[in-house]
């Protein structure tokens, strides 16, 4: 066989691998870590899964801010458990990401250097107890809308992680709504606290569903790989349609004067989102970007000697075992 033929055959083989791969995705088969996958698929998944994992652990911070001040023991325990769930989500999402051939250290490095992004919503401050309710209700609510379709995404480890994540998120959302409900059934001060939280979190929650379809850069490819099933604008509309009646139940006013039910479309019309604010926060200039990064980098750096010690100890124990084995 001549060299030219070999090259041609080689090219054919790689082409057919890709075809088989696309076929499998079209048939709703799961792609597993050891399966062949195009480099772009691997990279896109590392980007998205790690971004998701980073969001979970950065997302621990705004809520962690209220653990020591939670107003009752029941709320304190629920909040601690919720933040712990987020750490757990981070853990299995990092593990899912590691199956694509990248280490947790590298992923942290990308987060700490600013190369990797996390959900911008966590760059907003939690300044009252009602924010614990609003985050559960709105932020987890928007997250679920983003994430439920991912339970059927093509990459097996991610899809399986998301099934568990979504179950817990929907529990968190109910818990958040229940906090809001308690406030809204409470005193005037508590109602004001709830309304103020809705005022501050409403628009950032809408922004969580991502930029509008005309500027979203990843949508087309992601739809093909089932990393996405609906466009950002469709998801946003779904979130609004679902959440506005809940605000009505709470007796709160959604801070959008243009919000109104549209009989013809069967959806709510809503006002203009301030995309300048969105991009400002995404680019690192939100109210708490620096605090969040400092907290993450700080925890990691302060933990270096602890992790080193754990490694050193494990090595000593291993050596002891080996020496004992030799002695026998």
């Amino acid at each position: 066989m001549s060299e030219a033929q070999q090259n041609t055959n080689g090219a054919e083989r790689s082409l057919s691998l890709e075809e088989i791969f696309e076929q499998r995705i079209a048939n709703d088969e799961k792609i597993e870590p050891k399966d062949w996958m195009p480099e772009k698929y691997r990279k896109t998944h590392i980007r998205q899964i790690s971004q998701h994992a980073h969001s979970e652990i950065v997302g621990m911070l705004p809520e962690g801010n209220w653990i020591t001040r939670a107003p009752s023991l029941r709320r304190k325990v629920a909040l601690l458990a919720k933040v712990q769930d987020e750490a757990g989500h981070g853990l299995y999402l990092y593990s899912a990401c590691e199956t694509l051939g990248i280490s947790r250290e590298e992923l942290y490095e990308q987060l700490h250097s600013g190369k990797a992004k996390y959900s911008s919503i966590f760059n907003y401050p939690t300044i009252t107890w009602a924010d614990m309710g609003a985050i559960g209700w709105l932020v987890d609510g928007a997250a679920i809308i983003n994430q439920v379709p991912l339970c059927n995404t093509s990459y097996g480890p991610y899809a399986r992680a998301m099934i568990r994540v979504c179950k817990e998120e929907s529990f968190h959302q109910r818990q958040g709504f229940e906090i809001m409900m308690t406030l809204c059934n409470g005193t005037e001060v508590q109602k004001q606290m709830a309304q103020d939280a809705l005022n501050r979190w409403w628009w950032p929650a809408l922004m969580m569903l991502g930029p509008t379809d005309d500027v979203s850069v990843h949508t087309e490819q992601s739809m093909k790989w089932k990393l996405k099933r609906k466009t950002n604008d469709e998801l946003r509309q779904q979130f609004i349609d679902q959440t506005v009646p809940q605000a009505d139940i709470l007796g709160l006013t959604v801070p959008d004067p243009d919000l109104k039910w549209n009989e013809e479309t069967g959806h709510y019309d809503f006002g203009e989102i301030d995309w300048d604010e969105f991009w400002q926060v995404v680019k690192g200039h939100g109210p708490c970007n620096k605090e969040r990064m400092n907290a993450r980098v700080g925890a990691w750096e302060r933990g270096t000697w602890v992790r080193d010690a754990a490694m050193a100890y494990a090595e000593k124990q291993q050596n002891k075992k080996e020496n004992q084995a030799k002695a026998v």
């Binding site: 009752s72 325990v77 107890w129």
Partner: protein, 250 residues
């Protein structure tokens, strides 16, 4: 009201409450995701135990008392926790040492409390033993890792043990309320736990290549409500909502 029993329950529960509060401060800031999750677990267990104790104490107290009024609406000198558990999270070695020095005591206490003549306390103890056994295993493992890890971690762990040692003796002080509860077969005579405690702790410190402090000077006061300077800040934080927004449901 059974005042001695009420006070005795607070003595048991306040340690759980304050230790849990200290660990809760770290949630999201640990040296790794795994330690973060584990410390939160311990904190959750301790708050769970606190709630069982306080719900019982609220029944005894009556007058509309609740687990929350007991947890959040007392003055500093009415908290009966030992000084050890209120010490701040200076670094991870300090946190693990503080928790370990409490956990060893806590497990020994629960193992006796399960035989209390008071069925509620006995039930709480039985349920908590499993949790406390895990706590002491987790923190004990970290004492070993840090003590026998690197030179830096050894130094930090030794410094933590040296500083916290002064608060260990208070664990074995028997208060007037406890004396009465012991006589009634309800309470545990903590002075009898002392020998086993120092034996266990010393054995682990040795295994961790750490030096057992020789100091004979100890601090006490927590059990009678005289706390360290750290306590006021901890309470200011913990009581903030209940104090700023009194008489509301959350």
């Amino acid at each position: 009201m059974k005042t001695n029993l009420y006070n005795y329950i607070l003595e048991l529960a306040d340690n759980c409450l304050i230790a849990g509060q200290r660990l809760g401060e770290l949630c999201g800031h640990g040296p790794s995701l795994e330690t973060d999750i584990a410390c939160t677990n311990i904190s959750l267990d301790l708050f769970g135990q606190t709630r069982s104790y306080f719900q019982y104490a609220a029944d005894i107290k009556g007058e509309g008392a609740t687990e929350d009024s007991i947890a959040f609406l007392r003055y500093e000198q009415e908290y009966k926790n030992v000084l050890l558990v209120e010490q701040p999270n200076r670094d991870f070695a300090f946190t693990m040492a503080r928790q370990y020095l409490y956990d060893v005591f806590h497990l020994l206490l629960l193992e006796k409390l399960q035989f209390s003549q008071d069925i509620t306390l006995s039930a709480i103890a039985k349920k908590s033993i499993k949790e406390a056994s895990y706590h002491v295993r987790f923190t004990g493992d970290w004492i070993k890792r840090l003590g026998d890890g690197t030179e830096e971690s050894h130094e930090k762990m030794q410094a933590a043990i040296n500083d916290l040692w002064t608060y260990t003796n208070e664990l074995f002080e028997v208060t007037e309320d406890a004396k009465i509860m012991v006589a009634e077969g309800i309470g545990v005579d903590v002075s009898t736990l002392k020998e086993a405690y120092y034996e266990k702790v010393s054995a682990l410190l040795e295994e961790a290549t750490l030096t057992i402090p020789e100091s004979k000077y100890f601090q006490k006061g927590g059990k009678s409500g005289i706390h360290t300077e750290h306590m006021g800040y901890l309470l200011a934080d913990m009581q903030y909502m209940q104090r700023a927004y009194p008489n509301m449901k959350w």
